[in-house]
């Protein structure tokens, strides 16, 4: 009767919480406040139902706790993991991350060095050392180390994307574009890499780069016609090319046509969502 209904609700709530955490984990969401909320509740009240999932949840919650300055929770999670997996490299790395969060960069670095001594191929520890350089503001060194890392581990897409971000921060758009080219090669169906590449080319400026950027904005749209940022990018690059004094009449005409098409598409998208009362910001942030 009434009690059965409660159980059903509780089961649904529990499975929802666990599945949400998994989704956030798999999709690399960094909504740390939420993760700490949901994760802490799961750990404290539903530990028995989680089974072996609990260990990976401890890891996830610990990292989120470090983001939210919840050092108490991070410490608890770390202790549980240390108890269950003594001498594990992965747990050592988490201990190092905690030291990083407390700004004890020397100690953290020593921790990672000890991991690398035992296992020189451990990529996680190398990447943490690079993050320490980033956190200390030593961007040139971080870039150098990351380049060295990528010479050895050419397939590490996360690292390529990280390097592209580091180059963008240094305004070295040429090298950032190179990194994004690597990513586009290995992920030809990913519209976001196309779009980001187009944006970098657009930022570099110059007629050649503008034309390239227009082409890649178009490619991003081909892969995902809902990508608003690519649509705006197409409009901007086509308009700039059309306005440039260096182009001949045919190119100018073609780009005016592209810009007009883009304007049309943008207006239509606004019409559709105007009825849904979406604020402009949300529209711009979609697929961005």
């Amino acid at each position: 009767g009434h009690y059965c209904l409660d159980i059903n609700v509780l089961i649904i709530v529990f499975t929802e919480m666990r599945d949400k955490l998994r989704k956030w984990r798999e999709d690399n969401h960094r909504n740390s406040e939420q993760i700490v909320d949901v994760g802490e509740e799961l750990i404290n009240e539903h530990a028995s139902k989680l089974g072996d999932d609990i260990w990976i949840i401890y890891e996830q919650v610990m990292i989120a706790a470090l983001d939210c300055s919840r050092d108490d929770l991070a410490w608890t999670c770390l202790q549980e993991l240390k108890k269950q997996f003594p001498g594990s490299q992965r747990v050592k790395r988490l201990a190092g991350m905690r030291l990083e969060a407390l700004e004890k960069y020397e100690d953290a670095s020593k921790q990672y060095d000890s991991i690398l001594q035992d296992d020189p191929t451990n990529t996680a520890a190398r990447k943490r050392k690079i993050s320490i350089l980033k956190a200390q503001g030593k961007s040139a060194e971080a870039i150098r180390e990351l380049n060295e890392y990528l010479e050895q581990f050419v397939g590490d897409q996360e690292a390529w994307h990280e390097l592209s971000e580091l180059y963008i921060n240094e305004h070295d758009y040429g090298k950032a574009a190179f990194c994004l080219e690597e990513l586009m090669m290995t992920n030809p169906h990913n519209h976001l890499y196309c779009e980001q590449y187009a944006e970098v080319k657009y930022t570099q400026g110059g007629l050649e780069n503008l034309e390239l950027s227009r082409k890649y904005f178009a490619q991003a749209l081909k892969l995902n016609n809902g990508n608003m940022r690519a649509l705006f990018g197409l409009y901007m690059s086509a308009s700039h090319i059309a306005a440039s004094p260096k182009v001949n009449a045919t190119v100018k005409k073609a780009n005016v046509k592209y810009a007009a098409w883009a304007t049309n598409q943008i207006n239509r998208a606004y019409q559709v969502t105007k009825t849904n009362q979406l604020p402009v910001e949300e529209l711009l942030l979609r697929s961005s």
Partner: protein, 151 residues
């Protein structure tokens, strides 16, 4: 740290665990039954074949019940497996990415830094945090005391 649950909550927890286990065990049972029935049908077919060879009636086809058992066991096993395995993914590689945003693409978990505003924003009011993150902060006695128990 799991906090102590009162007796009523503990009972609820146990019931929930039990139900969840039962549900997954049921579908595992279905797959097991389907596979067993499939094996049994294969064995029967082999037996029938050797019987045919012995009685020299090699042109007779498999009896209908063996065929039916094979097909039903197949369907049962597939139906059970679908319930055990996770959610299906789209075949089109780009459609999966239609909802992906830079929000998540830009996050590189292996390179996460913690030297951001979160360290200060989420700080509870009675804790003091150094306001000069990267410089050598002077040892703050309060901060040191708070950090001591964490070593």
């Amino acid at each position: 740290m799991p906090t102590a649950l009162n007796p009523i909550e503990e009972e609820e927890e146990e019931l929930i665990s039990l139900v969840l286990n039962m549900v997954s065990s049921f579908w595992r049972g279905v797959v097991g039954l389907g596979l067993f029935a499939l094996a049994h049908a294969a064995f029967s077919a082999a037996q029938h074949r050797s019987y045919m060879r012995l009685t020299e009636k090699e042109n007779e086809t498999l009896p209908i019940d063996i065929v039916l058992q094979t097909l039903l066991a197949f369907v049962l096993a597939i139906y059970g497996i679908v319930h055990i395995s996770g959610e299906f993914k789209d075949m089109d590689a780009s459609s999966e990415l239609k909802n992906k945003t830079f929000d998540t693409l830009r996050n590189h978990p292996s390179f996460y830094m913690f030297s951001h505003r979160g360290r200060v924003l989420f700080c509870s009011p009675n804790r003091e945090v150094s306001t000069i993150p990267n410089a050598q902060a002077l040892p703050n006695p309060l901060q040191l005391r708070k950090l001591e128990h964490l070593h």
